[in-house]
């Protein structure tokens, strides 16, 4: 039988009743009344509270840990250190993960966990932490990745040898990997250029900034079964990684996801969860752990900082002939930044023939970076789009026309080898050009900028089940976490397929015992992939309805059609029987045949790439260096907006996260290697009064491989934001900033030193 991946093509003629409307989210009512249960909202009888002791040093050998005084404190039920975690070799995947959770040989960053306590109350646990004595031998540290690459820099891990060198060597280093990505002939490309621009850029790490700190409850039962309730984007990935790190069979670990109070990539990997499990094992009682905001900043996330060069050339008439990059990514203390996304995505959207990119990933004494929407791409697009604007200025071309002239179209083969199908980049650019915002004059005293961005969009391993109740209502079980309201979009696609009202469909977020493996919610994969499996579920259920209706009527199956939520006799039987609704069928047949159900597990392919263009007007106060965003428009291809308000929300949220990254957000370290701004007061995210309304234009160029034509929309909205704001500031003050964030002190310095 052909799978849905082969036979479920987009049908432009199909009449849609539910897809494209805006029903109220099914999870909404609990969220506006305070009933929704997030990571910190779960309680068990006998539950203890766990707290973590963290290293005050950026780099130090842990010579010994004395926990005896803490253990003796009344109310303390367990204390764990490195000795309570299975030994995993340094440099292996499990070895790095276990060392993220709990320091072993060395404390490797300010905030690195070194011990933890479970006690009858949080207050007792905190008192106990103060009684733990850690003997450190402080070592020289390195925070900046460029410094970490220099000869003589402190070597942070004994095992790292740079992968991907032309001439491999056995020298210990902080550079984990070098990667070269190329197409065409870069020298020939620059030789064909009339104008060349080469610039250096840098960006600082920013935090994902979810408002809900990590929270979990773990219970290790006597028979070795682990129950874990936690806030996660990846219940199945947590289970499998916990299995590897703690050496427990995956089938003995059941992860139940709570409602997720924001993640944006930051909850794709665990932090307190393995500690809570080990504390529970030792105490033989359930343990709850909730990180403080300071711990979230010091110990989780953030995204990669970068240092890079971009060089591009174009002809007099605006054709880009060559594009080159040299990129350095800070990955924190362990590898895993996903830096390879950058060379694959940074220029992709332009019809380029000659490209050469050399990328490096470097460790330093910071927390290991974690994913954030379009990992490692937006901070590089900030530079790429700046260079394109500079080239456009040199040839006196409208910046949008420059992008249109070079836009990739169907049939273009990307640097990562994919030949693009029907894509919506040209349509997106044309929609931007036709927008009120772009057509309006730039207000006096302001600057306007644009930026464009691309994301691959993802599919991946997805399992869902559908159960039809005897009354005809529908339960769907999904295991790919809902991070922002994907449940309603998925319920809508199921309802559309089944021809029933969306209110007849309810989605349950599964624990890991209930379904096959689901990949992490990341890369704009969830609505796309889960949509694919529930349409497959629905079609399987429909075939069962048809079979049962044929039996009730005593006609052949091919004499029954399913339309608009009911089975009807067709062919020569047409009109001979009253149509049977889903409820009519299930009411009559569930007793005799059992329930109508379907389960689908597949590795979903065919995600259509997404493209966006942002337009922004800014005003820069040249006395203070403060930038105000005055007007903002996001134009992006959604393929098909299943729930347009949800799609707009993705566009708007991505843009405002990017505004924070563009103007304020950064990790600030002192000479001592300690993080200096680990609070929302000192790490300033955008607040309501910082931003205007974010206008949106949803472009719909259907993805031909999806039954409803959709493309993921989670990543692209943040990709061009800092680029567009950088270009707008450049046009406002006459010099284009090249360092993120473009905070007031940096802009003042630019303005003061500018030769304008």
């Amino acid at each position: 039988m052909a799978t849905i991946l082969e036979d479920s093509k987009f049908d432009a003629q199909r009449e849609l009743n539910i897809v494209g409307t805006n029903p109220v989210k099914h999870d909404g009512l609990d969220k506006v009344t305070g009933r929704a249960k997030f990571g910190a909202d779960f309680f068990l009888p006998g539950m203890l509270f766990g707290c973590i002791l963290r290293s005050p040093h950026a780099h130090a050998i842990i010579k010994s840990i004395d926990t005896s005084a803490a253990e003796a404190l009344p109310g303390v039920k367990s204390v764990v250190t490195r000795d309570d975690f299975p030994d995993q070799p340094a440099g292996s995947a499990a070895g790095d993960m276990t060392r993220v959770a709990m320091a072993r040989e060395k404390a490797l960053f300010d905030g690195h966990p070194v011990a933890a306590v479970a006690a009858t109350s949080e207050a007792v646990a905190r008192r106990a932490l103060k009684l733990i004595k850690v003997d450190y031998e402080v070592l020289p540290h390195v925070i900046d990745p460029v410094d970490a690459m220099k000869p003589g820099a402190p070597i942070l891990h004994d095992h790292i040898r740079t992968k991907g060198l032309d001439e491999p060597n056995d020298n210990p280093t902080n550079v984990t990997e070098r990667m070269v990505s190329k197409m065409g002939d870069i020298e020939k490309g620059f030789a064909a250029a009339d104008f060349i621009v080469e610039r250096e850029f840098d960006s600082k790490p920013m935090h994902q900034g979810y408002i809900e700190p990590q929270g979990c409850v773990a219970e290790y039962s006597k028979d070795g079964q682990v129950e874990l309730w936690c806030s996660t984007q990846a219940p199945f990935v947590y289970r499998d990684r916990l299995s590897a790190v703690l050496k427990i069979d995956a089938a003995k670990i059941n992860v139940q996801q709570s409602e997720l109070g924001g993640g944006f990539g930051g909850k794709t990997g665990f932090y307190p969860e393995p500690i809570a499990i080990q504390l529970s094992k030792k105490a033989t009682r359930p343990v709850k752990m909730v990180l403080s905001r300071g711990e979230v900043f010091r110990g989780t996330g953030p995204v990669s900082g970068t240092s890079y060069k971009i060089k591009m050339g174009c002809t007099k008439d605006g054709k880009i002939t060559a594009a080159q990059g040299e990129l350095i990514f800070q990955t924190g203390i362990f590898t895993g930044s996903m830096y390879f996304n950058a060379p694959n995505a940074m220029f992709t959207r332009y019809d380029l023939e000659n490209v050469y990119i050399e990328s490096f990933e470097v460790v330093s004494n910071r927390p290991k970076v974690n994913s954030f929407r379009a990992p490692c791409v937006p901070q590089i697009v900030f530079g790429v789009e700046g260079v394109i604007d500079e080239l456009a200025k040199k040839i006196d071309m409208d910046p949008l026309d420059m992008r249109l002239k070079n836009a990739a179209t169907e049939g273009y083969t990307t640097i990562y080898g994919e030949t693009l199908g029907p894509i919506g980049f040209v349509e997106t650019l044309e929609a931007a050009k036709a927008s009120d915002h772009y057509k309006s004059p730039v207000p006096e005293g302001q600057g306007r900028g644009i930026g464009s961005g691309f994301w691959f969009n993802r599919g991946g391993e997805t399992s869902t089940s559908m159960n039809i109740a005897p009354d005809g209502s529908v339960t769907i079980i999904t295991g790919t976490a809902d991070v922002a309201g994907s449940r309603i979009s998925i319920a809508m696609m199921a309802a559309e397929e089944l021809g029933i009202p969306v209110d007849k469909v309810r989605i349950t977020m599964a624990d890991t015992n209930s379904l096959g493996f689901n990949r992490v919610t990341a890369g704009s994969r969830t609505t796309y992939s889960v949509g694919m499996t529930v349409v497959d579920n629905a079609r399987e259920c429909i075939s069962q309805f048809v079979r049962r209706a044929a039996e009730i009527w005593d006609v052949p199956e091919d004499a029954v059609v399913f339309e608009n939520g009911e089975c009807r006799p067709a062919g020569q039987n047409a009109g001979n029987f009253e149509p049977l609704s889903i409820a009519d069928i299930t009411k009559q047949t569930t007793m005799s045949h059992g329930a109508v159900t379907a389960s689908t597990s597949m590795n979903v392919t065919g995600a259509g790439p997404g493209f966006g263009l942002h337009i922004v007007d800014v005003k820069v106060d040249e006395e203070t260096g403060r930038t105000d965003v005055m007007r903002y428009t996001v134009v992006e291809d959604a393929g098909k907006a299943i729930h347009p308000l949800q799609v707009e929300g993705q566009y708007q949220g991505g843009a405002v996260q990017g505004i924070g990254w563009a103007l304020n957000e950064e990790y600030v370290y002192g000479e001592d290697g300690r993080l200096q701004n680990a609070s929302f007061l000192d790490y300033r995210m955008p607040v309501t009064s910082d931003v205007p309304m974010i206008d949106t234009v949803i472009v719909e160029v259907p993805n031909p491989l999806h039954p409803f034509g959709l493309r993921g929309v989670g990543e692209v909205p943040v990709v061009p934001t800092m680029a567009a704001i950088g270009n707008a500031i450049g046009n406002a003050i006459g010099i284009r900033p090249r360092s993120l964030p473009m905070s007031p002190p940096k802009l003042l310095e630019l303005i003061d030193n500018a030769d304008r």
């Binding site: 989210k25 707009e648 929300g649």
Partner: protein, 159 residues
Amino acid sequence: MVKKAHVTTSVNGDEYEYLCEPGQTLVDVLRNELELTGTKEGCSTGDCGACSVMLEGELVCSCLVLAVETDGKSVETIEGMAKGDDLHPLQRNFLELNGLQCGICTPGVLIAAKALLERNPNPTETETRFWLAGNLCRCTGYDKIVRSVMAAAEEMRGA
């Protein structure tokens, strides 16, 4: 061990009698002693607004108030906003206009917005934005939050 204090607080019109440590914050008691977990804790320093509640009719961050300070006083939380099945117009407009995504900031935003509309039934967009500047949201970009509040204000003025 510090001796616990005996405190009586009215929460959403119900009298709660409880024991708490003198250093325990109101948000801690609401969530962990009274099991009213609708109020969220995002930072414990008064910067994110997720723990917003009304204390004697004033908007406060419950992480910056000690529970012992609320002895004999009245507190309103998100759990008291709807009257049975009747949603407050703010709650209904947040649902209809999609003023929430993940929902972690939503209880605090709703409490703060209700406090705004009690003082100013006809706020401008700018007034709404400045009033809600103490409530961080990382998902929505604030656009649909501001629209939901202003739509609720309009509905309440018409009612």
